[in-house]
């Protein structure tokens, strides 16, 4: 027997499956069972851009400490895909476990001597039990979930309850699933006992946290934030935002008496049209959004400039994926930062929000509509595939019932009637945000002609250079106003005075917290600043100048946030050291720890010499 990893509530299990084999829901059920045992999990789907037949992986990190990031490595591999066998076996940590279908004999060369093998004749059991080939495939998944539960000491009743919740209304499906579950459970108890030293023990560490994917949370945030119009065009990884919005609207936005909808969802013919619909709706006073990914943002460029210049509220969810071009459409990146910050031709700057997890995404989604109407401009919510499409364990959602929507500076019919001066592009109170009127407000006052061409403070067409500059300057001042309205960065001080800082944002938050603990254990103390929005508030530049140097951790090749920092905060580039991860997988704590400690050790050595 090789050395065997022993661990309770702290390990990584990876499922290697074939896309379209029905494994996804079984794997998720397994993960949720661990969570129901009170043990925190972090799950990641790694899937191809295809519907059926290609390899997919599902990773479950079981973590009593509740680390939400990928750890890296793998303690137990459920190898269900012959196509990827060799690669999968190679990725198991020494002393780890291989769980596989032992129905067919395999040559010894296919195994590793430093990995513990747990074989179960899944196909044989299925063929014996089921006649229908489809059932043989589907129940195979549930059978291994049963077996794994037994291996890890997950209570059978906990899993059974999950099956009941999922198939509750469909009696026949329910019974056959429970039968399959028990089959697997009983087999493992009888034949596999003692083969696995990875265990799940009941815990209270999950607390009242919830498990949800970012796109689902974003859509719920849109419902809470008062969005009524959504226009979109299908693209991975953003499609599920629109789908989830439809789901939540069916639940919360159907008039109880008339059954009519308090929402409108348009699947547009392309992303240009989708953003056009959003801009038309925003111009006319509805809270509207679109959800897309990099290629869609590329198509929307002209319209985004119009919305910036004509000052029209709009909310755009960019669920970032690997680019450029079609790039790695089902892998994660943070590589649209510059594309969105300066979207469109001419001088433009846009407000970006960087949520760290689904909970914050829910809040930022709701907030984005207030910001869009207050600032009368497009707001980008910068998700990425990791947050958007993976289930995250996060704090429960909260809502303050006394909250009212900020509809921004809307001049009413009564104000117009009372003779209040209306200049569509007139800054009346110094915040550089003008008043707007909605179509149909007043019979004879407040109408104006919206256009992308330059015009004076009263919306009258003008090609006069001074008039144009006046307006562009006001737009710059409006961006200054935005600084005070966007979420502030989050500062975390190290336990000991630090000479170095770290800046990070978005989904990097998950591994960062964990990396900091490891770095601290190695005696490396760093203060951190999590950036939550662009424009950067003054705290950001203050932070950078307070340290010898600051690491900027990003999930793209070109250090896009760093460029934005250098450019917008007039920072000496030498102050900022990039830590970049962009292979399409979420950045891990191990990666960050290694990259930073390596740099700091070099620095220490240089200083000593």
């Amino acid at each position: 027997m090789p050395k065997a990893i022993r661990s309770v509530n702290d390990f990584v299990i990876k499922f290697a499956n074939v896309n379209g084999s029905g494994s996804a829901s079984a794997n998720e059920m397994f993960a949720r069972a661990v969570m129901r045992m009170g043990v925190p999990i972090a799950t990641r789907n790694i899937f191809p851009s295809n519907i059926q037949g290609l390899p997919t992986w599902f990773e479950v990190r079981v973590s009593e400490k509740g680390w939400p990031g990928r750890r890296g490595g793998c303690d137990l591999m459920v190898a269900m895909n012959p196509q990827t066998w060799d690669k999968d076996i190679a990725s198991i940590d020494p002393g780890g476990y291989l769980f596989y279908d032992s129905s067919k004999p395999m040559p010894e060369s296919k195994f590793r001597s430093d990995v513990n093998v747990v074989g179960m004749p899944l196909t044989e059991i299925c063929n014996r039990t089921y006649k229908d080939p489809r059932q043989r495939q589907l129940f195979k998944n549930i059978i291994y979930v049963g077996a794994l539960s037994a291996l890890f000491d997950i209570e059978r009743a906990t899993v059974e309850k999950l099956v009941r919740e999922q198939y509750g209304s469909k009696q026949q499906l329910l019974e056959s699933n429970i039968k399959a579950l028990n089959l697997g459970y009983a087999y493992a108890k009888e034949h596999l006992a003692g083969l696995c030293n990875l265990k799940v023990a009941k815990s209270g560490a999950v607390g009242n946290r919830i498990l949800i994917a970012g796109n689902d949370a974003a859509a719920l945030g849109c419902v809470y934030g008062g969005a009524t119009v959504a226009a979109w065009y299908p693209i991975t990884p953003s499609t599920s935002v629109a789908e989830a919005f439809a789901k939540w609207c069916r639940k919360f936005r159907v008039d109880p008496e008339t059954k009519r909808h308090r929402f409108a969802i348009v699947q547009a013919e392309d992303e240009i049209s989708a953003i056009g619909v959003v801009i038309g709706a925003g111009w006319n006073g509805a809270r509207a959004f679109t959800a897309t990914s990099g290629p869609g943002i590329s198509l929307m460029q002209e319209f985004l400039g119009l919305a910036y210049f004509a000052e029209i509220p709009a909310v755009i969810f960019d669920v970032q994926r690997g680019g450029p071009s079609t790039g790695m459409p089902t892998r994660t990146q943070q590589a649209d930062i510059l594309l969105c910050a300066y979207a469109s031709h001419g001088d433009t700057k846009h407000v970006l929000l960087f949520p760290e997890d689904p909970r914050e995404l829910f809040e930022m989604a709701a907030l984005s509509f207030d910001l869009a109407e207050r600032l009368q401009t497009p707001i980008f919510v910068m998700e990425d595939l990791d947050i958007g499409m993976n289930d995250w364990l996060c704090e429960p959602f909260q809502w303050d019932d006394s909250r009212v929507y900020d509809r921004g500076k809307l001049m009413t019919a009564a104000e117009l009637e009372a003779g209040k001066t209306f200049g569509r592009y007139l800054d009346v109170d110094g915040d550089a945000i003008p008043y707007r009127t909605l179509p149909g407000t007043h019979p004879s006052k407040g109408a104006y002609f919206t256009r992308g061409t330059s015009r004076d403070r009263f919306a009258k067409y003008s090609e006069d250079g001074a008039v144009y500059v006046d307006n562009m300057q006001r737009l710059l001042r409006k961006f200054e106003t935005a600084k005070s309205l966007v979420p502030a960065p989050v500062l975390r001080r190290a336990r000991e005075p630090a000479r170095y800082g770290v800046i990070y944002f978005g989904s990097t938050s998950a591994p960062m917290a964990e990396a900091l603990v490891s770095l601290e254990q190695a005696g490396l103390h760093l203060d951190t600043l999590r950036i939550r929005a662009f424009p950067f508030r003054d705290e950001v530049a203050d932070f950078i100048t307070a340290y010898d140097q600051v690491f900027v951790v990003e999930q793209n090749r070109d250090a896009q946030l760093r460029s934005l920092l250098v450019n917008e905060c007039a920072i000496d580039p030498a102050r900022l050291i990039s830590v970049l991860h962009y292979d399409g997988t979420p950045v891990t704590a191990r990666f960050i720890t290694a990259a930073i400690s390596e740099r700091l050790q070099i620095r220490a050595k240089e200083a000593a010499e």
């Binding site: 969570m35 009242n208 946290r209 919830i210 498990l211 949800i212 419902v223 809470y224 934030g225 008062g226 009524t228 119009v229 226009a231 936005r253 008039d255 059954k259 009519r260 909808h261 308090r262 929402f263 409108a264 348009v266 547009a268 013919e269 392309d270 240009i272 049209s273 056009g276 619909v277 801009i279 038309g280 709706a281 925003g282 111009w283 006319n284 006073g285 509805a286 509207a288 002209e302 319209f303 119009l306 429960p396 959602f397 909260q398 809502w399 009127t437 909605l438 179509p439 149909g440 407000t441 019979p443 004879s444 109408a447 104006y448 002609f449 919206t450 256009r451 992308g452 061409t453 067409y461």
Partner: protein, 351 residues
């Protein structure tokens, strides 16, 4: 410039409509188009139609793309909100505006370049989605604003001012509108106010996607011999299928047509359209027959004008989407936000 600056005061003798508005109340800024441009005549027809329809100007929203034609919404209905968007993308902006507030009347104004070239996709999808609007293309067969390049509606063999010949097949927007489900389809000529004004009135009153293709000669780049969109050419080849008389229920009916040659159509709001039939066999309620007829006349070199097709019982996008009767932009937090108790239940379902 076609309009001279006008004094602000209203002449007491100006005729008023039922709302007490004069013509002036429907006018806009002074046009900056070339003198004699067909587009200005269309603006005048829009003003006339809205005046006669007794529309409250502020209850109409006018949207356009980019082009000389798309500039025109600035030149009529100065009390209405307008949106001069981007080239070829007005249909999506109009769709969004309409979703936000179903109670306003939406007028989309576009050009042949704007709708048949860069915006062809948006035009088609907006129509097939059933957006309640009147969509007018001011069709001159050229890109006026960029100085005379052929547009996609230019006829094969037509000659540009610079002497080039168009060898590509033309796109027929009327044919496309019929094909993709517009429920009101008409064609007219900017120089034929008698025909155009009632068509615009009927189009604005229609409850669904209404489309009027208005041939509108560009005097600067497409009004020479060899052009098939010139004043001369259109006058010679015009073949009107019917004459229209639009009767608002609030107005006494003053014109009467010869019995036997008229047909009455009631619109959803109770107003009536009276068609003086020039062709006894032309039935504007038969989409397939209309399509066939268009093709036949086109191959005979004739340009059919008039009301080509109409579905009186048309439904719009809001019916398909089953949205509430009230405008979405007027819903309150109470109607939109499920609140904290509901959120607690959501949380519970995610554990």
């Amino acid at each position: 410039m076609t309009y001279l600056p006008k004094p602000k005061f209203h002449h007491p003798a100006l005729p008023k409509n039922a709302l007490g508005f004069t013509h002036r109340d429907y006018e806009g800024s002074i046009s900056t188009l070339c003198a004699g441009c067909g587009h200005d005549s269309i603006s005048a027809a829009v003003i006339q139609a809205c005046f006669e329809l007794n529309l409250q100007p502020h209850r109409l929203a006018k949207l356009s793309g980019i082009g000389c034609s798309s500039k025109t919404p600035d030149y009529f209905l100065g009390q209405s909100h307008g949106f001069n968007s981007v080239h070829g993308r007005m249909p999506s902006v109009l769709t969004g505006a309409n979703l936000a507030n179903r109670e306003l009347i939406y007028l989309g104004v576009s050009g042949d370049g704007d709708s048949a070239s860069i915006g062809l996709g948006q035009f088609m999808h907006c129509v097939r989605r059933g957006v309640n609007m009147l969509y007018i293309t001011e069709n001159n067969g050229v890109y006026g604003l960029t100085k005379g390049q052929f547009s996609a509606t230019a006829d094969r063999g037509s000659r540009s001012k610079a002497g080039g010949i168009n060898n590509d097949s033309p796109l027929d927007l009327v044919g496309l509108a019929l094909l993709i489900g517009a429920t009101f389809v008409a064609r007219s000529f900017s120089g034929d106010k008698t025909q155009l004004v009632p068509l615009i009135m009927a189009g604005l009153s229609h409850n669904g996607p209404a489309f009027i293709d208005v041939i509108s000669p560009c005097v600067a780049f497409n009004n020479h011999p060899g052009s098939t969109k010139s004043f001369e050419y259109v006058r010679e080849h015009n073949e009107a299928v019917n004459r229209l008389d639009f009767m608002d229920p609030r107005q006494p009916i003053t014109v009467d047509y010869e019995p036997g040659t008229t047909a009455e159509v009631t619109l959803h709001d109770g107003s009536k359209l009276r068609l003086a039939k020039l062709h006894a066999d032309y039935d504007p309620h038969d989409r397939i027959a209309a399509m066939t007829y268009m093709q036949q006349r086109a191959s005979a070199g004739e340009l059919v004008t008039g009301l080509i097709y109409m579905e009186p019982e048309a439904r719009d996008m809001h019916a398909t989407l089953n949205t509430v009767d009230v405008p979405l932009n007027g819903l309150s937090e109470k109607q939109l936000c499920p609140g904290s108790a509901a959120l607690e239940k959501v949380n519970a379902s995610l554990r």
